[in-house]
Symmetry: none
Amino acid sequence: MTKDKILAAAINQYSMFNYHGATMQKIAKEVGIKPASIYFFYKNKEELFIAAFQSLLQSHFEQMKRILDEAKDRGLLEIFQSLLTGTVAYHQSHRQETNAYISLVASPPAEMKQFLQEHMKTFDTWMFDSLVELAKRDFPHLTEAEAKVLTKQFVLLMDGIFWEINLYDEETLQEQIDQAHQIMAKLLEGLQHE
Amino acid sequence: MTKDKILAAAINQYSMFNYHGATMQKIAKEVGIKPASIYFFYKNKEELFIAAFQSLLQSHFEQMKRILDEAKDRGLLEIFQSLLTGTVAYHQSHRQETNAYISLVASPPAEMKQFLQEHMKTFDTWMFDSLVELAKRDFPHLTEAEAKVLTKQFVLLMDGIFWEINLYDEETLQEQIDQAHQIMAKLLEGLQHE
Amino acid sequence: MTKDKILAAAINQYSMFNYHGATMQKIAKEVGIKPASIYFFYKNKEELFIAAFQSLLQSHFEQMKRILDEAKDRGLLEIFQSLLTGTVAYHQSHRQETNAYISLVASPPAEMKQFLQEHMKTFDTWMFDSLVELAKRDFPHLTEAEAKVLTKQFVLLMDGIFWEINLYDEETLQEQIDQAHQIMAKLLEGLQHE
Amino acid sequence: MTKDKILAAAINQYSMFNYHGATMQKIAKEVGIKPASIYFFYKNKEELFIAAFQSLLQSHFEQMKRILDEAKDRGLLEIFQSLLTGTVAYHQSHRQETNAYISLVASPPAEMKQFLQEHMKTFDTWMFDSLVELAKRDFPHLTEAEAKVLTKQFVLLMDGIFWEINLYDEETLQEQIDQAHQIMAKLLEGLQHE
DNA sequence: AATGAATGAGTCTTCATTCAT
DNA sequence: AATGAATGAAGACTCATTCAT
């Protein structure tokens, strides 16, 4: 459908040139239509990008949910591992969305800042709560506080991977995922002995 | 000096609107001059931004060097700690530069991509080498490989902090720094017992 | 009927925004249809507006005829009076048409200028001839020339009222109608004594 | 000066095509510059036209003041006469301004309606007060009320001339001015005998 | 009878840039 | 060292119109 193609093109152009550099003309050209046609589907540039960003954030969210859902019956370390590799795998097979997502989070257009912050909060809360619960399920003797600390540490590692996703080549990135894995292993190891 | 004010304004505008949104007009207005005047100091927009980005990256680099230099006579854990807090402190007192830097690294203008990658490589190499050396100095029994792993892990944590710097409020960010510190402590603890 | 609704909307939009500001889109929206649908009824914008203006001018003309027809059996002064109040009453109960009519006469679209001038001539001639005849009927001793002068004077007053119709509030306008009436009374009074 | 030429061109284009039809391109072309250059002098189309209309209304106002000032030492009938002929003469030697003025008053752009109404009120008040005063000066036995009635009647005639200024050819218009003159003569004549 | 989808032409406006002063 | 004046190119967006359905 043309409407979806426009959305995809907007995301792609944004990933390459940012908001002001993603012109209606370039988006239209990518879709194979004329600029004027975009306005049949979206009222203006801002509304197009609101839709684009919503779709972007939502697919990222859903992807994370899917990964967690698939992994949730394994052990905690494996869940962490799955999240890391799953995220990176997804993002490597959706290069444009990744770039757009990173761009959006790292330097959001002023008009989008608040909307973005609300989304990030929802996402963070969901991820944090889910992981805390899984941690407690897998290590029943953990106190709430301990589970939270563990989760925060994992989130920090995951954010590190995120920052590196666009900076390192595939191989180096894989090494960093391994490092994250080993760190989590060591952190869990400590807990098991208590 | 006007020339420097232009540079600062360019960085500030870039931090808010990205390359295409940072117009010569807005930059001039921020400085209190007319757009035409910018061309007395810089040949064109591209050269202005090359200068701006160089200055940006260089100050970041120098700042990191300064932090490391100040901390290098303490123990390794304290060095890590200093780097984390120093970096965050610097970036919190230079909000615009931080935003610009993050924006630049996370979504570089196409024209700047290569130049940026070279810089990042230089920076990463310097940081990596410096830390490996300090690790070996402080834990003489560490093998080269072990020292490298340790450093990579620290870099991962530091990158996590970087990603979070703009997303979390000051307090939450401080907590995350603490988490990073505790992880490094645990990793070093493990080493010490070998 | 849709066709008539389109015509009415065109007139209304014209009264508010003039020819170039009365867009097919706004007209369609006012009718509650899509712009493309207008083309089922009218070949293009120009033909729509030719139809609209014709209808406008024709209803104005017919209204004047009706007023005159109703009043023609009374005395001349009363006929003048009826024309003035009748015209104003009609125009106050058809605000949009009035505005459109005034707009059209005062600043006709270039394309319509000639068509308009022909209509105005026809209308003026009809009105002038009718009034001259009525004047002679009511004041048989008047020469043709005297009757013409009297009519011209009335037309001048009527045009004054027209110019004021959109500028003054209802009350002030009524006062001006009274002034016109009194002037005509005085002019007739002069004649009667000869 | 370019800035004034732009203003004049804006008025001229407006007189021919109304607000929406007076495009920046046509205005620029008339001045002999490129559309972009207009924006060096005026922030946007709306501000250009606000300036244009202000200038238009102000020159009309000043012209009326000048005419009245020149005539004010003659008798009242001559003053009326001067105002009529002066106005028409001025407007016939400033065709574009006249058309623009008539267009503006008869069908003002929505955005300008309020601004225009205020101006008209100021102008009407000035004209009315000035004429009432002159009437009382010239006919000392006139009551205030009588002077006001007389003035209103003159204003009505003058408005009639205004409405006709664009509709009739020069000769016919001159006849109408004569009619107005004769009406005023008769009205004054009546007063003198009291 | 009406509309979804599309577009060429044109609208206002901004942008980076130039150049004489 | 700075700016007033200007512009070609491009930006977002609108408009009248078409055509298949």
